[in-house]
Amino acid sequence: MELQTAKHGRLWIWLDERIGLGGLAKLAKKKEVPLHRHTFWYYFGGMTLFLFMIQVTTGILLLLYYRPSAGEAFESIQFLMTEVQFGWLIRSIHAWSANLMIFAMFIHLFSALLLHAYRRPREMTWLSGGGLLALCLGFGFTGYLLPWNELAFFATRVGTEIPGVLPVIGPFLRRLLRGGNDVTGATLTRFYGIHVAILPASVTLVLGLHLFLVQKHGMSRPLSVETNSEEKKAMPFFPNFFLRDLVGWLCALGLLAALAAYYPAELGKKADPFQPAPIGIKPEWYFMAMFQTLKLLPSHILGIEGELLGVLGFGIVGVVLIAVPFLDRSSGLGKTATRLAAAFGFTLIVYSVILTYLGYTMNPTK
């Protein structure tokens, strides 16, 4: 007992007796991070989590001033940006951190895809990650409407019209999303509820599962490293990798502060359902490739409406992406399937980068 007191202090022992700190410490000591030439990519999962924590914190702060109705939403943000001390900073950090979080998440997704981290027994980790991506895109889409400005209004009109082009269930889905036939104050209230309650609760559950699975299976070693006969090197997570994580988070925080200070979030003009869509209207960058695809598709392809084909195409890509661990394994093609999965990942990256580039550079009036 005396020896323990000397090593840990009384508080530690008191807590250990009640909540089992010793077990947690043992667990933390066991956790290791594989060391190889691709170790760098492991940082992006933690980075996404860090940015998500910033989102939760700044989101809660924004809730104190935001008013979720068509008559007051825009004005409440105007008040927040101009009158509330550091209101502009909190909102700008929330907006920028959302963008950086999605970016970190895409890097995390594509590194897991290209390094084949989804392979057995990590299929559920991949699926829960896919669920988290969908939830975060949902955060982005619903949050975009909340300022109730012109851009948000039309982005939501288009975004909610997209499931509406599906046959049979389309009109029902559109009504369900909008809370009515059109984008109105009812849509804003609905999106607000989804953004601040339904999505956070869902993310908490799925994120819990994702993190649990990461602890259970440990971090995946890429195939190229696993098959290599050289000794499997690893680094303890606590404190070695965690401290490196912290350095990354500090850099991200610095970048966020700089972006928020030099490029504060804009508010634009208040939404008016009886004004034409403004020239140069754009969605958030992570929806740009899809937006541009819909723009370039002709009205009809082989007698089918272009937008329907586009929407079906997005759906198929999403399903293939989610099903990669099962396609890779069950195809019986062995290494060929693994190469195909990598080719699919590269194609998706190249396609998204080109279409996003076109979306930002093409003359919107031609």
Binding site: G180, N181, G306, P364
Partner: protein
């Protein structure tokens, strides 16, 4: 093991019944919770404005050739245009592609949707870009200086 089986005979019929009963009750409970929640999520049908005819606040003398403007047709946006030749027409302003609100572009004398670069001619016909259908056309009547727009049929 054998003694256990003889001392505790299992009545499979009764156990199966209890399992079935428990399963059905749980199922019925779930349905009783999920049904009202799912109905709650679907917004109620709200009586839409059934306007078939609208008299615009803008007067005929205020119209300019080669221009257009958005007006309210019931709860929906509509567009009134005057062609370079002076013909006045009205259409639904909701783009047939993905529902954005269109505008009149005097530089090309066409109705245009900024969202996905859809073009419509002065008859509301989709002529370029992704819109799959023409815009719904309304009937325009000029009564003195008043402009009256009504649905066809």
């Amino acid at each position: 093991m054998a003694t256990n089986e003889t001392s505790l005979p299992v009545d499979h019929g009764r156990r199966n019944f209890l399992n079935w009963f428990l399963g059905t009750s749980a199922g019925a409970f779930l349905v009783a919770v999920l049904y009202p929640v799912s109905r709650y999520l679907v917004p109620p049908e709200v009586e839409e404005s059934t306007a078939h005819t609208v008299t615009l606040s803008v007067k005929t003398q205020e119209l300019k050739a080669n221009s257009g403007q958005i007006f309210r047709f019931g709860s929906q946006p509509a567009i009134l245009i005057e062609s370079p030749a002076g013909v006045v027409r009205a259409f639904s302003a909701t783009c047939t592609h993905l529902g954005c609100i269109v505008q009149y572009r005097s530089d090309i004398s066409q109705i245009w949707c900024a969202c996905h670069n859809g073009h419509f001619d002065l008859n509301g016909k989709n002529i370029e870009g992704p819109p799959p259908k023409p815009l719904e056309e309304y009937v325009v009547n000029l009564r003195g200086d008043q402009i009256v727009v009504s649905k066809k049929g």
